[in-house]
Subunit: 232 residues, 2 copies
Amino acid sequence: MTNASYKQFCPVAMAAEVLCTRWTVVLLRELIAGSSRFNELRRGVPRMSPALLSKRLGELQDAGVVARERLAEAPEIDAYRLTQAGRDLQPVIEAIGMWGQKWVETEPSLENLDPELLMWDMRRNLDTRPVPRRRCVIEFIYPELPEAQRRWWLIVEPDRSVDLCHIDPGFDVDLYATTDLRTMTEIWMGLRSVRDAVEREALLLVGASELMRSMQTWLGLSPFARQEKLAR
Amino acid sequence: MTNASYKQFCPVAMAAEVLCTRWTVVLLRELIAGSSRFNELRRGVPRMSPALLSKRLGELQDAGVVARERLAEAPEIDAYRLTQAGRDLQPVIEAIGMWGQKWVETEPSLENLDPELLMWDMRRNLDTRPVPRRRCVIEFIYPELPEAQRRWWLIVEPDRSVDLCHIDPGFDVDLYATTDLRTMTEIWMGLRSVRDAVEREALLLVGASELMRSMQTWLGLSPFARQEKLAR
DNA sequence: CCGGATCCGGTTAGATACTG
DNA sequence: CAGTATCTAACCGGATCCGG
């Protein structure tokens, strides 16, 4: 049931027994970001096998980090939510991410691009404040990708909620953004700016000029984008 | 050579590939605490196999966290030192330890007592300021333990350096501290005070009264002792 | 002693398929 | 939707051995 212990009384070792098993901190990042249902977590951690996800969720429950509960609005579905101990891990995960942004080589990780992860992250962190108070639709087009991953729609509703579609919702589009996945990921990670990508013609914007001008702001960016990068 | 990747561009996942393999953060804690030679690291992480220690040190070098260098004073021996990227992990390890102290159950970890780890940690963090400016010798006695682990001597030299012996150095002893390993570990971890242990007769102090009175101060305590504990 | 390398058996993780 | 089942590959722990 439980993992082999380090047999040390040091709190670092005690915590590492809970946190430092394969996939665990990536799963915790997803829980902290707000995912709670099993298949929602699977989408955020797509390369983790469901068997291991289930096992890790059980271990995190045993450790008091996660609690399983029934959704009030859908009693047949259960949700995994962080306990106070789990929410208290946010500084730990943030410190790990800040260190990763600063010191881990970018090149290998930029070979691991994933449009679905990127678009869901963008949806999550989108800053609606500079977006006009009507329904705004932004279509992202990655011409390099296969049909099924080529077109994505971000929709900001008048109530400021944000939706992501990967099938055409049929609305009029306010802004088209045509680019490649690497460029868009670099912008999201804070490694280059919207302006730079447009000037070098790696990003083509067509549509409402107010959305074009404010894109660097409403895009929100990764929580780690402000951390300077120092890796060689 | 390198571990299987999570295939995510998120900095948390990138960092976790480096940090969250078995034993790695415990090893980093030891490096941050100041150990640098292979067998010095082995002493601090005694249950890690030398093969795995060697492998992890190689991976940390590849990741740019550790650099291997020759000791100037002993050219046949090499040392593993943290790079700037490695020293930058200190906030990460501290955050992990603080979380562990606050949220991980104490009971199971207090079954993993180790007098050598405890005494070396005490040596490392001893606060010499309240100790008289002459050679002071403090002998710790754990009557419960087998002969080889029963008696330990902490020696504070006039130049404020601290030594640990587990064979009798032959000096006059200024203070005898007779206790059990669990009590001493609890004091070290900040879970109980010297005063409480003395009053409940779990710790017997005999010798120089100034060292007795200032013990709570010169003991220094674990870097995580100030963190409140909230685990159930 | 120091700094590992080698071998072997048990455990863990990944891939894929399947079920209530 | 929310997981199991199964099989194989990779990893880990423990012991032993080896060259300086």
